[in-house]
C-alpha cells in the first residue's frame, strides 16, 4: 500500500492516545462531468480531491476527524483529534459501541473494466454528447435538450488496529439525455435511460451500451407529445411499472427501510427511521411470495459493487426479503450486534473525508419468470408508467407517492394511448403485497442511483437497485393536485 507507513502512524497515535479501536482511510477521488445543454457545453469539469480520515473508539464512543493534508505532522494531529472527539462523545453516552467481529483482511480489488475512459479522447466524448443533444432538439417543439456523462475514479486504502490492510481502485460511469418541452401552462420532460440514466461500475463500455444516440430523437418526440396527451385518470387500478421505476420503488420503500442504522434510530432527526422494526425480522410479510430481495455487493456491473466497504468488511450477498418475508438488514459493524444480522460490506463514505455509514448497496429484486411482453396480460383497465419525475415517502418509509414522466393506458391487456402526469400512491407492505408478476431475467437491469442522500452532514452515495418491469394490482392512481 502507498500509505502503509502513514496509516500505521495514524493508528499508533490513536492507540497511544487511548483508542481501543481505530481505522484510517486514505483516498483520491476524481470526478469528470461533461454536460451539454441546447448546443452549449454548460458543464465540463474535472475535480480531484485527496486526503485521509481517522475513526476511533474511546470508552465505547466514536470520534472522527479528516484532513486534506497528508503530511506526517497533520496525520498525528488528526489521529489525536479523532481520539479527543471520541472522548467528548463518551461524556454523553447512554450506551456504548460494540463492534461485530469482522476478521483481519488483507487484499486488493480493482473494478473490471473493458474500455478505460482515458483511452477515449475528450473531444470525442464531447462530440458524442453534442450529437445526442442536437438529435433531441431535432424533435420539433423541444425547448431544452440535455446530454451528460459522468466518470468517477476512486483510489482508497484502508487500515485498522485489527490488522486489516486493503487497497481498492473503483471506476463508475454513467450517462443520460433529457428533453424538456414547454407548452401553454405545462412543462413535460423525458429522460433516458430510466429515471436518472444508466450508471454502473465499469469503464466507458457502460456509456456506450446506454445507446443515447438510438433514443435521443424518440424522447424528444415523447416530451412534446406529452404536452397534448390526456391526463392520467384517477382511481384504483392495475399498474405495470418500468424496471427503472421499480428500481426507485425498491430504493425508497425497501432499501432505505432496511438500513439498520435507520431502524435503530441513528437517522431519526433527518433521514428518519423505519417501519421495519427488529421485532418484525423473520416473520413480517413485506410483500407477496414473488418478492425476494437481496443486497449483493458483489453483483457484476452494479453501481455499488466493490471488494470491501469503508470499514474493511469484504463484499458479499445477503437476503433482505425472502419469498415476501423480511429476513435481513443492511448493517455496519457497530449496528449488527444489536440485530444479530450478517454484514455484507455496505458501509461507505462519500469520499475520504466523510464518516462511513450504512448506505443502500446493490439492492436487487430478483427477476421473476414472466416475459415482459406478457405483463399486460389479464389487465382490463390499468396504466403503464415509466421514468420517475417525483418521489416522496414518509420518514418511516410507509406512505409514498410517486409520479412518472410517461404513461400509457392498458385496456384489455393491450397498450393504449399516451397519458401524462401519471402518479400512484400507497403503503409499502400493501403495495409490495400486490405484486403478482415480475419480468424475467431478460428484462432485468442493475439501475444505478448517483445521488442518494443521507446523514448529517449530508453525504451523497451511489447505490444500485436491480429490477425488471413489474405488475401490481389494485393500486391508487392519480393525485388530487391535478384535479383542483
Amino acid at each position: 500500500m502507498r500509505f502503509d507507513a502513514e496509516a500505521q502512524a495514524a493508528l499508533d497515535t490513536a492507540v497511544a492516545r487511548g483508542a481501543s479501536y481505530a481505522d484510517v482511510r486514505f483516498g483520491v477521488v476524481r470526478d469528470e462531468h461533461i454536460e451539454v445543454r441546447n448546443g452549449v457545453v454548460n458543464g465540463f469539469s474535472d475535480s480531484e480531491s485527496a486526503g485521509f480520515s481517522v475513526r476511533a473508539i474511546v470508552d465505547g464512543a466514536w470520534g472522527f476527524a479528516s484532513s486534506a493534508n497528508a503530511e506526517r505532522k497533520e496525520i498525528d494531529r488528526i489521529a489525536a483529534l479523532a481520539v479527543e472527539v471520541a472522548r467528548a462523545s463518551a461524556t454523553v453516552k447512554a450506551h456504548g459501541i460494540e463492534l461485530m467481529p469482522a476478521g483481519k483482511h488483507t487484499g486488493e480489488y480493482r473494478t473490471p473494466v473493458q474500455v478505460d475512459p482515458a483511452t477515449i479522447p475528450t473531444g470525442e466524448r464531447v462530440k458524442y454528447l453534442m450529437d445526442v443533444e442536437a438529435d433531441i432538439r431535432g424533435a420539433r417543439g423541444v425547448t431544452v435538450g440535455r446530454a451528460w456523462m459522468d466518470i468517477w475514479r476512486t483510489t482508497k486504502e484502508f487500515a485498522n488496529t485489527e490488522g486489516s490492510r486493503i487497497a481498492q481502485e473503483l471506476l463508475q460511469c454513467g450517462s443520460a439525455c433529457e428533453a424538456l418541452a414547454v407548452g401553454e401552462n405545462d412543462v413535460q420532460d423525458r429522460l433516458f435511460p430510466g429515471t436518472c440514466g444508466l450508471y454502473q461500475t465499469g469503464g466507458y463500455e457502460i456509456i456506450q451500451k446506454a445507446d443515447l444516440p438510438g433514443n435521443a430523437r424518440r424522447i424528444g418526440e415523447e416530451a412534446v407529445a406529452l404536452l397534448t396527451a390526456d391526463l392520467c385518470p384517477s382511481g384504483t387500478m392495475d399498474v405495470v411499472l418500468s424496471g427503472d421505476q421499480v428500481s426507485l420503488q425498491i430504493h425508497e420503500s425497501i432499501g432505505h427501510a432496511l438500513e439498520l442504522d435507520r431502524v435503530l434510530g441513528w437517522e431519526a432527526n433527518f433521514s428518519g427511521t423505519s417501519f421495519a422494526t427488529l421485532d418484525k425480522l423473520g416473520s413480517f410479510r413485506y410483500g407477496s411470495p414473488l418478492v425476494t430481495v437481496v443486497c449483493d455487493m458483489t453483483c457484476p456491473l452494479a453501481f455499488a459493487t466493490h471488494g470491501y466497504d469503508d470499514e474493511g468488511t469484504p463484499a458479499s450477498s445477503i437476503d433482505l426479503i425472502r419469498d415476501g418475508i423480511l429476513v435481513g438488514y443492511m448493517a455496519g459493524r457497530d449496528t449488527a450486534m444489536d440485530a444479530g444480522v450478517k454484514l455484507c460490506g455496505c458501509v461507505r463514505a462519500e469520499y475520504w473525508g466523510r464518516l462511513p455509514m450504512i448506505r443502500i448497496g446493490n439492492v436487487n429484486l430478483q427477476p421473476g419468470t414472466t416475459p415482459s411482453a406478457e405483463l399486460f396480460d389479464g389487465i382490463r383497465n390499468g396504466v403503464y408508467m415509466e421514468s420517475n419525475r417525483s418521489w416522496s415517502i414518509d420518514d418511516k418509509r410507509l406512505n409514498f407517492q410517486f409520479g412518472c414522466q410517461l404513461g400509457y393506458e392498458i385496456k384489455n391487456g393491450k397498450k393504449g394511448k399516451m397519458l401524462k402526469n401519471p402518479t400512484y400512491a400507497g403503503m409499502t407492505p400493501k403495495f409490495w403485497g400486490s405484486c403478482d408478476a415480475i419480468g424475467d431475467r431478460n428484462s432485468w437491469t442493475a439501475w444505478g442511483t448517483p445521488n442518494c442522500g443521507k446523514g448529517e452532514p449530508m453525504q451523497t452515495a451511489r447505490s444500485s437497485q436491480g429490477a425488471a418491469p413489474t405488475r401490481f394490482r389494485d393500486v391508487e392512481v392519480g393525485v388530487v393536485g391535478y384535479a383542483r
Binding site: 480531484e48 479528516s66 467528548a88 461524556t91 454523553v92 473525508g353 415517502i393 410507509l398 448529517e456
Partner: protein, 447 residues
C-alpha cells in the same frame, strides 16, 4: 482554531495569485474555498456520531475565446496548482465555443463589509463544548422521560475569488446550528436554531420546545384527508420557499418558460400580503456579500405585495437576457443557473400565537418531509408532515395527530395566506410562520 484574518487572506491570495500567474488562458478565474466543519450527532440521548472535517479547494475557470473549462483540486502546493490550471486550460480548448458566453465579469460596486459574519469563539469551539451543549439537551429530555435525536454543529469557512479582469474578493464567516427531534414512543417534536455565533443558540430553550411538543403529541389521533386551515411553522415555510427558489426564482428556468414567473412579471401571482426578496445582508441570515464569480450581490425583490417583480441573474444570464447582473452565480460549472440563496419573506402583523388563537379549526405543521415537485408550472408539491402535527380547535392546540401527506400548489397557497410578524432563520432562509386556508391533505398514515 483558524489562522487570523490577515494570515488566512494572505494564504488564499497566494493560491489565487499562483493560479492566475500560471494560466495561459485568455481569461482566468480562481476560487479558494476553505472550511472547518464539526458536528456532534445525538440518538437515544447518546452522541453516536461526532466529526471534524477540514478541507480547502481551488477551482479554476479558464476561458479561451468563447470556450470554457473548469477544474478543481485540493492539492494546493505550487505543482498542484500548476497541474490544475493546465487541466482547466486543456478542458477549455476541448470545449466547443459558446457564442453567448459574455466573458468573465469585471469588478463592480464595492462589496459590503460584513465583519460580524465571523465569530472567533464559534470558529474555536471544541468537541467538549459541543458535547456540553448536547448534555444540556439530554438533561431536558431525561426530565421529560423522552429521547433526543439531532445535532449540534459549528463551522468556519472562507471564500476567496480573483479573476484576470480585476475582481478580487475575500469573505470569511462562521455558522452554527442545533437541531432537535424529541421522541416519545408515539410522538415527536422538533426545534431548530441557526446563528453565525454559537453563543446565540440556546440549547436548553430549543430542547424544551422540542420536548414539550413531543409530550403534547402523545397518543395521537387522526383527521380525515381533505382541506384544512393550517399554520406552518418556519421550518415548513422554509421548505416551501426553498422549492420555489429552485424552480422559479432563477433566470435559467425563467428564460426557458419553465418557471411560474415566466411571462408574468408585473402580474399578481400571490396574495397582496406576500413580499419575497433575496437579501444576503439580512441580520438573521447567513449570506455573503458577493457571488461565486466575485460579483457584488444586490438585494432583489422577487415578489412585491403579490406581484411578480424579478428573478436573480449571474453574468451569463444577465448578458443573455439583457438584464443587470444581480450577483447570484453559483460556483462554475453551474448547470442550474443563478439561484437566490438568502430568501427573506416580509413579516405580517400578528404573532404566530395569534394566528393559532384566531383559528377555529385547523392543523399545526411543525416541519415537513420529502417534498417533491408534482407539477413545475403550477408549483404543486407533495410531502409529509413530521415531528409535531397538531389539531387546533377554537384557537387552542388540543391534541397531536398522526402524520399526513399533502398535495398543494405553493404559489396557490401563498395566495390565501396570512404571515406572522416574527422572522426566524431556518437553514439559509429567513421566514415567518404562516397560516394558509384550504390546504389540501390527500392521505394519512399510521404514526
Amino acid at each position: 482554531m483558524r489562522a487570523d484574518l490577515a494570515a488566512e487572506r494572505a494564504a488564499a491570495d497566494a493560491v489565487l495569485d499562483a493560479a492566475l500567474r500560471d494560466s495561459t488562458a485568455d481569461e482566468t478565474e480562481a476560487i479558494v474555498m476553505a472550511q472547518d466543519y464539526a458536528l456532534s450527532r445525538i440518538m437515544g440521548n447518546t452522541i453516536h456520531e461526532n466529526i471534524i472535517e477540514r478541507n480547502r479547494t481551488l477551482s479554476v475557470r479558464a476561458v479561451i475565446g468563447k470556450r470554457v473549462g473548469v477544474a478543481t483540486s485540493n492539492e494546493l502546493d505550487a505543482a498542484g496548482i500548476r497541474t490544475l490550471v493546465k487541466r482547466a486550460c486543456e478542458i477549455a480548448r476541448l470545449s466547443p465555443a459558446d457564442d453567448e458566453f459574455p466573458g468573465l465579469p469585471t469588478s463592480g460596486p464595492a462589496t459590503a463589509e460584513m465583519e460580524f459574519a465571523y465569530d472567533e469563539a464559534t470558529a474555536s469551539t471544541t468537541a467538549a463544548e459541543r458535547a456540553a451543549a448536547v448534555a444540556k439537551i439530554v438533561r431536558v429530555m431525561v426530565k421529560h422521560e423522552i429521547d433526543a435525536a439531532g445535532y449540534v454543529s459549528t463551522s468556519a469557512g472562507s471564500v476567496a475569488i480573483a479573476n484576470s479582469k480585476g475582481i478580487r474578493q475575500f469573505f470569511r464567516s462562521t455558522d452554527s446550528a442545533i437541531n432537535i427531534k424529541a421522541m416519545s414512543a408515539d410522538s415527536s417534536g422538533y426545534a431548530e436554531g441557526h446563528a453565525r455565533r454559537f453563543a446565540d443558540l440556546d440549547a436548553n430553550a430549543l430542547a424544551t420546545t422540542a420536548a414539550q411538543k413531543a409530550v403534547a403529541g402523545r397518543t395521537p389521533g387522526a383527521v380525515d384527508p381533505g382541506e384544512y386551515t393550517v399554520i406552518l411553522e418556519p421550518p415548513a415555510v422554509r421548505e416551501f420557499l426553498g422549492y420555489l427558489s429552485w424552480t422559479g426564482f432563477g433566470a435559467m428556468p425563467f428564460a426557458e418558460g419553465a418557471s411560474f414567473m415566466s411571462g408574468h412579471i408585473g402580474e399578481r401571482v400571490m396574495g397582496p400580503n406576500v413580499t419575497i426578496a433575496d437579501d444576503f445582508a439580512h441580520p438573521l441570515g447567513d449570506g455573503m456579500p458577493f457571488d461565486f464569480e466575485g460579483v457584488t450581490r444586490r438585494p432583489v425583490t422577487l415578489v412585491e405585495q403579490g406581484i411578480a417583480r424579478d428573478v436573480v441573474y449571474d453574468s451569463y444570464y444577465a448578458a443573455k437576457l439583457k438584464h443587470a447582473n444581480t450577483g447570484h452565480a453559483l460556483p462554475a460549472p453551474n448547470t442550474y443557473g443563478p439561484l437566490p440563496l438568502n430568501v427573506v419573506v416580509s413579516p405580517g402583523q400578528k404573532s404566530a400565537a395569534q394566528l393559532v388563537a384566531e383559528t377555529k379549526r385547523g392543523l399545526l405543521v411543525s416541519r415537513t418531509w420529502y417534498i417533491r415537485l408534482v407539477d413545475k408550472l403550477q408549483t404543486i408539491i407533495t410531502g409529509m408532515t413530521r415531528d409535531g402535527f397538531f389539531l387546533i380547535e377554537d384557537g387552542r392546540i388540543t391534541r397531536g395527530l398522526r402524520n399526513m401527506r399533502f398535495n398543494e400548489s405553493i404559489v396557490g397557497a401563498l395566495g390565501r395566506c396570512e404571515l406572522a410578524k416574527d422572522l426566524v432563520r431556518s437553514e439559509n432562509h429567513v421566514v415567518p410562520a404562516c397560516r394558509i386556508e384550504g390546504f389540501h391533505f390527500s392521505s394519512g398514515t399510521t404514526f
